[in-house]
């Protein structure tokens, strides 16, 4: 039987994704899945550390079977892994795992974001700044969790000291951002988180400050703003 090139490619691609095919085709299939598992492991390194290599490989294999990458950049594969792991029956005993995946993913995105020169807001008259909306820098993201996500993350890093984390240790609001050579996060207070969230929606500083005060009456705008400036969270004034 002779196939047209187009059909031949479609058949080949379908077989690589897991359907049918015999013998040596399995070599290609195996290469694809092991590359993708490796890539997911690099992107979701904290998830991998938490569950261990064997479990991670199995979960990643199940994730891959739902769909191969739709773009050529491996670091962009796995955006919906958090949603997948949330519904993955074998991970049911780890209810915080999806939040860890969200944090890993946000760090991955920030890491691959361009680093822009931080906006020089000192040149803007403060009254005008109060009435301005601010563009958040590429990669800046707020990750909320009902669990002490920052501590869970910390004990899962290579070389972390021994110790345990109490899952009931309180909620976390983590602001992921780009640094010179990597990406990192800081833990925000309730007011700070609301401030960033509302700014992220495109609201002006005044409105964001009001939202922060509403959730945390002792919200200190000076301290919060200085902290965010130091993390270079603001890229520009929104025009």
């Amino acid at each position: 039987m002779t196939l047209a090139l187009r059909e031949w490619q479609a058949t080949f691609a379908a077989q690589l994704a897991g359907g049918g095919g015999e013998g040596r085709l399995a070599i290609h299939r195996h290469n694809i899945s092991s590359s993708l598992i490796r890539s997911l492991g690099a992107t979701l390194s904290t998830v991998r550390a938490l569950v261990g290599e064997e479990f991670f490989r199995q979960a990643a294999q199940a994730f891959i079977s739902r769909g191969l990458p739709t773009q050529p950049v491996l670091a962009e594969y796995g955006a919906d892994f958090a949603g997948f792991i949330e519904a993955y029956p074998s991970a049911e005993s780890l209810p915080y795992l999806a939040d860890v995946a969200r944090l890993d993913w946000a760090l991955n995105v920030a890491f691959h974001s361009p680093r822009l020169e931080a906006a020089d807001l000192s040149a803007v008259p403060p009254e005008r700044l109060a009435a301005s909306a601010l563009v958040l820098a590429p990669g800046v993201a707020l990750v909320r969790s009902a669990y002490p996500l920052d501590r869970i993350w910390a004990v899962s890093q290579p070389g972390a000291p021994e110790g345990t984390v109490d899952l009931d240790g309180g909620a976390a609001r983590l602001l992921v951002h780009r640094r010179a050579d990597d990406a990192t996060f800081i833990a925000l207070g309730e007011g700070e988180a609301a401030f960033v969230e509302v700014l992220g929606e495109g609201q002006v500083v005044e409105v964001a400050a009001g939202a922060a005060l509403a959730v945390e009456p002792a919200f200190d705008l000076t301290a919060a703003f200085a902290r965010l400036l130091a993390c270079e969270v603001f890229a520009a004034l929104r025009q």
Binding site: G23, N31, A75, A91, V165
Partner: protein, 86 residues
Amino acid sequence: MTPTRIAIAAALASALAGTVAISERAEAQGKMTVEKCYGVSKAGQNDCQTDNSSCAGTSKKDNQPDAWIAVPKGTCQKIVGGMVKS
């Protein structure tokens, strides 16, 4: 201008004053000369690497993902307590 806005403007102004001092200090220490624009890919994200074992295209593990169920056993053992799930 509302009193709230004046208070907010004052708070922003003091925050900015603090940052200027910090960036001047950084300047005094010498500017970073090397700056990467984008993150460098981690190992595993570079390209389609080949596993040494993958030429053994007969690996059963790969084709039978549900034949065994792995149990999480990494640093999750350090996470204790939490709400009991039924």
